[in-house]
């Protein structure tokens, strides 16, 4: 009997060992900082810890679904999310190391924040209970406030941190209130039980208010229209590595928990929910793409484009049948890789950090004018990322776009398909503008360049690797599709 219990406990421990390892990393790095401040050592320790967690995740691949207490579940979906979160975090570590070299303030604490946020992401992808959802979201967001305002002597960074914090707090309040309402109605916080309780009640005004508020909280983090307003400001102001994390790991984790919520809660499958969400998806796609058109700031532009991309992703959620889960998986993989590439280039061009009064990063588009003639390989990475974001064939982004359209067509959601098509056409327009800017001959008013040795730095290698992966997956996506199918299956 006790053997069985122990075995179960061992299984559970094994299953959440990535999370434990990430948390251990935080502690080890913290102690190492207390012992002796060494920027490179901190970065290496963080990277080692995250890699160990990634390995643990891969070793636990065959465990199947493990219930770790009644609030956490480690299954294929959470491992999938874990891989994405950890990989993005690793990329951010490498980028941050180069970026922070020029920063005069304390540098090492950034890794603490980054790793804590990664732990939050890991909790979130395994959440199956409102408490873990909340805990994960907060653990993910709180360090982000600090990360965004890390270079707080820059007005832009400080502003972006404060904006994100204040608005996040409001969104969290809504999230909590929604949870409270749902709890009051159903008496449970477990996703599955919540779903069961709600499905027997049918359409109920409490459900609308509760689930609606809950979704507001999540939609805020995903910057879905009309809760997207913070995105461009925060993207623009935050330091490169922090924004990269915000755009990749943070969004992936939140979207996956939303997916889990949708899957387990049948109440979301009512028609009017789909209509509402469909409407939100359409305006998210259109608003994101339209507002990106006029941007002269690359980071803002990427912010708006991320809004649009989550609009595309919502299509899969709205349809929620057939290929939907695979679509989400594939789109997330391609989105993360592509975004890492794009933000990676921005961060590399902005590295090392230079103190200024405004925004320290090279985010205005004119910095990138004629980048090709100065840093051809970096430009190639950026070009690949832009093509992939635009969904051009032979890049990973195309596979994602293909799945989104396929899912919409399969379900005969013509409005959604139409919006994806129109949105992508508008997208082509501004992504190409960025690309053309890279190749222009005449130099911009002011320019920043990546250091000459960028490609030999860890961050540079990661960015190059990501771009290669984007191309490889575009040419031969079969492994990725098989993987995601297996996860979704």
């Amino acid at each position: 009997m006790s053997d069985v219990v122990n075995q179960g406990a061992m299984m559970a421990l094994l299953a959440i060992s990535p999370l434990i390892l990430v948390c251990l990393t935080v502690i080890v790095v913290m102690l190492s900082i207390a012992w002796k401040r060494n920027h490179t050592l901190s970065a290496i320790l963080t990277a080692v810890g995250l890699n160990a967690a990634l390995l643990a995740l891969l070793f636990g691949w065959t465990l199947g679904t493990v219930d770790v207490t009644s609030v956490l579940v480690v299954d294929d979906l959470s491992r999938f999310g874990g891989v994405l979160v950890l990989m993005s975090t690793l990329a951010c570590v490498t980028l941050a190391h180069h970026y922070l070299e020029g920063y005069e303030g304390p540098r090492d604490e950034f890794y603490l924040l980054l790793t804590s946020a990664a732990a939050g992401g890991l909790v979130l992808v395994s959440a199956r209970h409102m408490t873990t959802l909340f805990f994960g979201i907060e653990l993910l967001s709180m360090p982000l406030f600090g990360m965004l305002a890390y270079t707080f002597r820059d007005r832009g960074a400080l502003e972006s941190g404060i904006k994100y914090m204040v608005l996040s707090a409001a969104a969290t309040a809504f999230l909590l209130f929604g949870m409270a309402l749902l709890y009051a109605v159903t008496g449970t916080l477990d996703f599955a039980e919540l779903g069961a309780a709600l499905s027997t009640r049918g359409s109920d005004p409490w459900l609308l208010a509760g689930a609606g508020l809950l979704l507001v909280g999540l939609a805020f983090k995903l910057s879905i229209v009309p809760f997207h307003l913070w995105t461009p400001d925060v993207y623009q102001g935050g330091p490169g590595p922090a924004t990269t994390f915000l755009a990749t790991a943070s969004k992936v984790a939140v979207f996956l928990v939303l997916l889990r919520l949708f899957q387990s809660t049948l109440a979301f499958h009512e028609n009017w929910w789909h209509d509402l969400l469909g409407f939100i998806a359409v305006i998210t796609m259109l608003v994101g793409n339209l507002l990106a058109l006029t941007q002269n700031d690359l980071k803002r532009l990427l912010g708006y484009s991320s809004i649009a991309h989550f609009g595309y992703l919502l299509v899969a959620l709205v349809v929620n049948q057939g290929l939907a889960v695979e679509t989400v998986g594939i789109y997330l993989v391609t989105y993360v890789l592509t975004t890492l590439g794009a933000f990676g280039v921005v961060t590399l061009v902005s590295s090392p950090y230079v103190a200024t009064g405004g925004t320290a990063d090279a985010s205005p588009l004119h910095h990138y004018r004629g980048l090709f003639w100065r840093r051809p390989y970096l430009t190639a990475v950026m070009t690949v990322s832009m093509l992939s974001l635009a969904g051009i064939p032979f890049t990973a982004g195309f596979i994602g776009k293909f799945y989104i359209i396929a899912v919409g067509v399969e379900a005969h959601r013509w409005w959604l398909v139409g919006s994806v098509v129109v949105g992508s056409a508008i997208g082509l327009y501004y992504y190409l503008r960025v690309m053309v800017t890279l190749f222009l001959h005449e130099p911009g008013m002011q320019r920043r360049d990546a250091t000459h040795d960028w490609a030999e730095r860890a961050g540079g290698m990661v960015v190059l690797g990501v771009a290669t992966l984007v191309i490889l997956l575009g040419l031969y996506p079969t492994p990725m599709i098989n993987w995601v199918n297996w996860v979704a299956g």
Binding site: L167, P232, I405, V421, T478
Partner: protein, 934 residues
């Protein structure tokens, strides 16, 4: 199989030019031409088989999960297009060698060109719908590169971007259409799709599928109303235009119509949409071709017009019309490529393409003039040239069509009108440019271009004549094969010859020629007529609408995203208000089934005070001290409310917390300005008040509605198990230290960490101590009033005693470690306030950090202690002991745990408050300065 080679060779060919430099131009051109020439050879080697009726296939798996295979086919239709693409492509390579200026990068040009050629070949050879689509998108992209080749010109960049945006959107729509077809048929395999015509057309999804596919085809082939991008793609170098707009890019759309003809055509829907779109495009574009001044503009619009003609032919419900369409594809490619080349030569040699400036060029460039004249004659449909034959076929077919029922006569009439216009602009092109007086004031002195540049034209025009004279010999086989692939039936009987006898189509041709000449002679009137209309430039319209869109987005951005946090918060709250408000609207009635508790006067008064104080806090928020006082009233009322509703524990806690918080706020306020500056305008205040009231109303209603509805509470469990399970009568305390002991342990740990964090943060902070408030009134000189000092000192032992008392009774009566800790902390802080930090610290000479840490340690060890006895972490034990003189007392391990809580609370609170107080007293900059000066 050698089929993939046909695609692969040009793809490799796109790398070849990059190997050589820009200076070795001949080498560059020859090496580039080599691989497509081999591909052409392979195609020709397959040709006899295809003409004999063979269809070659080759397939490799690529992404099986998507149904995307690398499958290629070579049938009659592919053959026809392959010959055009590769043949004209090779001529273009030759032509471009002499066209490009020395400063233009030739390797780049050839690389783009070959890439484009590859994607075009991919389209015509694809044996899988999705593969076709992939190549389709690639043509959009590579044509973008080609059109924007002179990327230094913003005109070129804009034209290229417009072309890509339009064709890219059409492409995505087409993908959706293909996916639908794939769903209907169950596979994307081309042959299966082509064979399942009945299945597809019977399906309800046929309509959307058809519309989406046609959208793709029409945008690519620049059909009305998507025609506007094509004339602006003319910013491209002329060899590009000659290639893209004669044989390839725009032909992709009509190729798709032909390719999917077996599967999609034959319905009324197809007949009407395709035919009428084609007809409208043909006439519309022909009219504008007549009005353009730019040589390439004329050719661009005439291309659109001829594409309309081909589209119309594919739309008509007769097999002969399809054959005529295929035939016209060949003819149009030959004469249009030649004409584009001639315009390139003219541009190259004279420096302008403006028809108004050009004149009399036949003297300086006789051969170009002759060739262009022949090509234009073919375009106009002059007998003995190939254009004549296909035009004749077209006119015949329009007579046969049953479209529009009783108005069927309109079709041939309109078709003739199109031909009339076509003759007119062809005539204008030749007459104005090559005849008339010698042009003066040309940027360059015109002379004949080098012969190799004229050679491609010579070949093409030769083809025009040969096909025109002996069509049956030259193209019959090819046309047969292509028709077989397009209509999946042997070609209907057709006499490909020049002379069919006197009949109606011949008459129409004659009318077209005569009418064309007529219109040409009265063209001035036409120009005058057109001048009444505002100049309508497609790029301008497109750019205008884009600019409008941009302006709109800019306005939207300015309105929504002005960077103001308040604004963002506003939208967030409005959105939430809408969402929850609509939920409340669905509610039948706010009041639930549970009866509210009775109200009495005391309660009402309390509620009134709370509301007033809350309002006061908000209204007086600019006067911070007053506002803080109001806020403390709210806190006080809340603790009273707890007391009233039988929660004395909570009330005590709330009270103590309230005191500590207010002290903390006061300390912070000490360093801050006393007033908040006025920042909101009146309107804004009204807006905010309304919003706050609305939001508060909604949340309050939600709460009210919820609280009046029946629900299960878990308090019953704790009430039942408190004594038996935890050995205490104070349920709140038992929950804290026993049932939820683990939570409490976590909380005090967090509290301790937070306190250490604050301690650390404040450690190096130096704040200037204000000597007066913001209005200039000095603070009282008497920092430590005697009365307060005396009272606080005498109160300290009493307060400590009370806290011990509260601590001890906590398990059964209201009280507990948390409250006791707060009481102790408050008493000590009072001492700090009364006597100052320096004084207090001299006497309380111990650090608070160890106290807090010890507290956490005790609590943890208590939990671990239960392991010694073989129980789970934090299992509590309790027993009753009788002590002499005191009586029976109950001791529980929970008490030890509570001690940990107590110490942590004391340590943490004091760590924070004492340090905040210390900020100024010790390190006052002014004092330090004084010392230095002294």
């Amino acid at each position: 199989m050698s089929l993939p080679l046909i695609v692969l060779l040009p793809l490799l060919g796109s790398l070849v030019p990059l190997l050589s430099s820009n200076r070795q131009r001949n080498l560059n051109a020859w090496s580039t031409a080599l691989l497509p020439a081999i591909a052409l050879g392979i195609v020709i080697a397959h040709a006899p088989g295809v003409v004999a009726g063979e269809v070659y296939h080759s397939s490799m798996s690529w992404v099986p999960q998507l149904g995307l295979d690398l499958a290629f086919r070579l049938d009659g239709l592919s053959l026809l297009f392959l010959l055009l693409i590769l043949g004209i492509g090779l001529l273009i390579i030759l032509y471009a060698r002499y066209y490009l200026a020395p400063e233009d990068s030739m390797p780049r040009f050839y690389a783009y060109l070959m890439l484009f050629m590859t994607s075009m070949i991919g389209i015509v050879m694809a044996d899988n719908l999705l593969l076709l689509w992939v190549f389709w998108e690639l043509t959009s992209l590579s044509s973008f590169l080609l059109i924007g080749y002179w990327y230094q010109q913003s005109e070129a960049r804009r034209g290229a971007r417009m072309a890509l945006a339009v064709t890219g959107m059409g492409g995505l729509a087409m993908l959706a259409g293909f996916l639908l077809i794939g769903h209907i048929v169950g596979t994307y395999d081309m042959q299966t799709v082509l064979d399942s015509r009945d299945l597809i057309q019977a399906d309800p999804r046929y309509l959307p599928a058809l519309l989406l596919v046609l959208l793709g085809a029409f945008t690519k082939s620049a059909q009305f109303p998507f025609h506007f991008w094509l004339p602006h793609a003319m910013a491209a170098p002329t060899p590009v235009s000659a290639f893209l707009h004669s044989a390839t890019m725009v032909k992709a759309g009509v190729f798709l119509l032909a390719r999917l003809h077996p599967a999609l055509a034959g319905s009324q829907l197809w007949l009407y949409i395709v035919t009428l779109t084609g007809l409208v495009t043909m006439i519309y574009a022909a009219y504008f071709a007549l009005l353009k001044y730019d040589l390439k503009g004329v050719l661009a619009f005439s291309t659109v017009s001829h594409l309309g003609l081909i589209t119309m032919l594919f739309g008509l419900d007769s097999k002969l019309a399809v054959v005529a369409g295929l035939f016209h594809i060949i003819n149009h490619a030959t004469f249009k490529a030649a004409l584009f080349m001639s315009s390139g030569i003219i541009d190259h040699e004279t420096g302008t393409r403006d028809i108004r400036k050009l004149s009399g060029l036949r003297r300086s460039m006789p051969m170009t003039a002759a060739l262009a004249g022949l090509a234009a004659a073919s375009m106009a449909g002059v007998p003995l040239l190939n254009g004549f034959i296909s035009k004749e076929m077209m006119l015949t077919e329009t007579l046969e069509s049953g479209l529009l029922g009783g108005l069927a006569w309109l079709i041939p009439v309109l078709a003739t009108l199109g031909s009339v216009l076509s003759v007119a602009y062809s005539l204008r092109l030749i007459r104005n440019v090559f005849f008339g007086p010698e042009a003066k004031e040309l940027p360059k002195t015109p002379h004949e271009a080098p012969f190799p540049m004229r050679l491609p034209m010579l070949i093409l025009v030769g083809l025009c004549i040969v096909i025109g004279l002996i069509p049956a010999v030259i193209v019959s086989g090819l046309l047969d094969a292509a028709a077989r692939a397009t209509i999946l039936a042997p070609r209907p009987e057709l006499q490909l010859s020049i002379w069919h006898g006197f009949n109606l189509p011949l008459l129409m041709s004659a009318i077209a020629l005569a009418g064309g000449v007529g219109i040409y002679t009265v063209r001035r009137n036409l120009f005058n007529f057109q001048r009444q209309f505002p100049q309508r430039n497609a790029l301008m319209i497109f750019e205008h609408s884009v600019r409008r869109l941009l302006q709109w987005t800019q306005v939207t951005i300015d309105r929504l995203e002005n960077g103001s946090l308040q604004r963002y918060m506003l939208w967030l709250i409005v959105a939430v208000l809408f969402l929850t408000g609509s939920g409340l609207l669905d509610l039948d009635q706010l009041q639930g089934s549970r009866q509210p508790q009775p109200l009495d006067g005391l309660l009402l008064a309390g509620a009134g005070i709370t509301i007033l104080a809350g309002l006061g806090t908000a209204i007086l928020h600019r006067r911070r001290l007053v506002s803080l006082m109001m806020l403390s009233v709210v806190g006080l009322m809340v603790s009273l409310a707890f007391a009233r509703f039988s929660a004395p524990d909570l009330a005590l806690t709330q009270l103590a917390v309230e005191v500590v918080t207010v002290i903390l706020l006061m300390l912070a306020l000490f360093f801050l300005p006393q007033r908040t500056p006025k920042e909101s305008s009146g309107a804004r205040v009204v807006r905010d008040v309304l919003l706050a009231a609305g939001f508060g109303g909604v949340v309050a209603s939600l709460n009210y509605a919820l609280l009046t509805r029946p629900m299960d509470s878990i308090s019953g469990f704790f009430l039942d198990n408190s004594v038996s399970g935890g050995g205490g009568h104070n349920v709140v305390n038992v929950i804290l230290v026993d049932f939820r002991g683990f939570d409490t342990l976590g909380e005090i740990t967090v509290l301790c960490i937070a306190a250490i964090g604050i301690y650390k943060l404040l450690n190096r902070l130096r704040l200037f101590m204000p000597s007066s408030d913001s209005e200039g009134r000095p603070w009282s000189r008497d920092l430590h009033p005697m009365l307060l000092a005396t009272v606080s000192q005498s109160l300290l032992p009493l307060a400590l005693l009370v806290s011990v008392f509260i601590f001890l009774r906590g398990h059964n009566e209201p009280g507990g470690g948390f409250i006791a800790g707060l009481v102790t902390a408050v008493a000590l802080i009072l001492l700090y306030i009364a006597r100052g930090v320096d004084w207090a610290q001299q006497r309380l000479s111990f650090q608070y950090q160890p106290i807090a840490v010890t507290g956490v340690a005790i609590a943890t060890l208590t939990g671990l202690g239960s392991w010694l006895f073989g129980h789970n972490f934090l299992t509590s034990a309790f027993g009753h002991f009788s002590i002499p003189y005191i009586g029976e007392i109950e001791l529980a391990t929970a008490m030890l745990f509570d001690l940990g809580v107590y110490l942590t609370v004391v340590g943490a609170t004091l760590m924070i408050l004492a340090n905040l107080g210390k900020l100024t007293t010790r390190h006052r900059p002014s004092k330090e300065n004084e010392k230095e000066t002294v």
